[in-house]
Amino acid sequence: MSLGVTLIVDGVPRRADANATLAASLLAAGITAFRRDLGGHPRAPLCGMGTCFECRVTVDGVADVRACLEPVRDGMRIETGK
């Protein structure tokens, strides 16, 4: 695995594989709460293919981006757990 880009995940820089999807990169970085449900419980990718929207995160200020469909980019800022 080549660790080619840096993501800013909730303010913390994390190295990630330049070829990976954002969902895979966040899971690899140990993120479990991509979002939270109404009761505050963590949710994370289910379908992996853009159907379920459980992996939605905020990317560069844009809310509800499906991490499983998103390629990583150097310097990308991600907010999770919303």
């Binding site: 695995m1 594989d17 070829n19 990976a20 999807t21 969902a23 895979a24 990169s25 899971l27 690899a28 479990t32 709460a33 991509f34 449900d37 109404l38 009761g39 419980h41 963590p42 949710r43 994370a44 990718p45 289910l46 379908c47 992996g48 293919m49 853009g50 159907t51 379920c52 929207f53 459980e54 939605r56 509800d64 499983c68 469909l69 390629p71």
Partner: protein, 424 residues
């Protein structure tokens, strides 16, 4: 100012069926736009980061589409349609109108999930979902993995995670041993499928494979830590980092529904040339019934020819025979891997049914219609638009499919509106 463009044929979905359809139409002189949601072509089955790592059939088909001059747009999706000739397509955030003479729907299938306690815990994914994440770069080496579901996808994913260094603790197939034997006899008659099954089983040979086995409850504090399985009538707990679940696949019919195509038994209805009930609209592959990539490719070939006006080529005896064989295999898949009653009874009153809207089972009356469930309990009203809970409710309560309203795929309202305005 929005662009309005034209293509003779627009194909939605670049999996095996869509690639074959697009190639066949382009080889007959038609201009073809192939719209795909993924980052790269191939659909779910041929999802990849390195094309060279794909099976030769996949590489051949992708090369064929390129050589035929198919225009592929990745990361894009159809969000709306004024008519089958007037498509509104989201080109990575920019929404444009596209005119066309023919539409070929090749939107594939998605996993069916039957809710059970703990299934919303992080670490619980679809079986295909785990494979998609793996192909997207998820490292699984030295993690403990349990797969519990139904259908041929189980073995293929077990093989993939084992090859990636994952420690597969159990592969649980809910179907019974007798049903699986009948299925195996059919596979024995098909050398290609048999070779594939053997190679998958070999790749995950250290993992136990059990029939009559399913996940009963997932445990964990903020993340999956273990799963309780019912293994041939006995309960046992297995510590694991990932749990892949899923009760087979269901056709993605939303685009067909949007275009007013007839849907029967949860699949887009088609005739012998893959034409839907709406003139100028064809449908191919898993969205017309789940039957695997080989059959999907055949159906794509038929529809691509038909949409390009080559009815004789589309009706060729060899193609039609292969298509019928694929359909028979599809019916066998459906019979063999139908969710069993014990699995349909796993959810407790507290189990979440609709994940988007956090609706527990206890809030729903099985005697409702889907519309009543939407109005009174918000089942299927969330951001996935019932893509996940719709098939669950059909299996659990016998409810019909969710209705479809534009826009599909959750584009931003501003973009959707400007795409519509361009139609004026």
């Amino acid at each position: 100012m929005r662009r309005v463009r034209h293509a003779d044929v627009v194909v939605i979905g670049a999996g095996p069926a869509g690639l074959a359809a697009a190639s066949a139409a382009a080889e007959r002189g038609r201009s073809v736009l192939l719209v795909d949601q993924g980052l790269r072509p191939g659909g779910q089955i041929w999802r990849h980061r390195d094309e060279q790592a794909l099976p030769s059939a996949a590489r051949r088909l992708m090369a064929r589409a390129r050589n035929a001059g198919v225009k592929l747009v990745s990361g894009c999706r159809l969000v709306d349609a004024g008519s089958p000739n007037e498509l509104v397509i989201d080109f990575r955030g920019r929404i444009d109108r596209h005119q066309t003479d023919a539409v070929i729907i090749a939107t594939g299938a998605r996993e069916r999930f039957i809710p059970f306690p703990g299934w919303t815990l992080p670490g619980v994914t679809g079986i295909g979902g785990l494979q998609a994440l793996l192909k997207g770069g998820l490292p699984v080496a030295d993690t403990r993995i349990v797969l519990a579901g139904s259908g041929p996808l189980l073995l293929s994913v077990a093989a993939a995670v084992a090859q990636a260094g994952g420690r597969v603790q159990l592969v649980g197939e809910q179907a019974g041993a007798a049903a699986l034997r009948r299925f195996a006899i059919r596979v024995l008659r098909d050398p290609a499928k048999l070779r594939q099954a053997i190679s998958y089983r070999w790749a995950c040979r250290s993992a136990p494979f059990r029939t009559d086995t399913w996940a009963v409850r997932a445990h964990g504090d903020g993340r999956l830590q273990s799963v309780e399985v019912s293994e041939r009538g006995h309960l046992r707990s297995i510590r694991c980092d990932w749990l892949g679940i899923g009760s087979g696949l269901v056709p993605n019919t939303d685009l067909g529904q949007l275009l007013q195509c007839q849907v029967e038994h949860g699949a887009i209805a088609v005739d012998a040339l893959q034409a839907t009930s709406v003139a100028g609209v064809w449908a191919v592959g898993e969205c017309t019934g789940v039957k695997g990539d080989e059959a999907a490719t055949i159906e794509g070939e038929i529809a691509g020819r038909a949409a390009a006006g080559d009815a004789a080529g589309a009706g060729s005896t060899a193609l039609q025979a292969a298509r019928d064989s694929g359909r028979r295999f599809g019916r066998l898949l459906e019979e063999t891997f139908a969710p069993r009653p014990e699995v349909l009874a796993l959810a407790t009153p507290d189990t979440i049914l609709c994940r988007c809207e956090d609706v527990p089972m206890r809030s729903v009356d099985p005697g409702w219609t889907p519309r009543q469930a939407k109005l009174w309990a918000r089942v299927g009203m969330g951001v996935c638009q019932g893509a996940v809970c719709g098939p669950s409710c059909t299996a659990l309560f016998g409810w019909s499919a969710n209705t479809v309203r534009p826009p599909l795929g959750n584009p931003s309202c501003g973009e959707w509106k400007s795409g519509l305005d361009s139609a004026d």
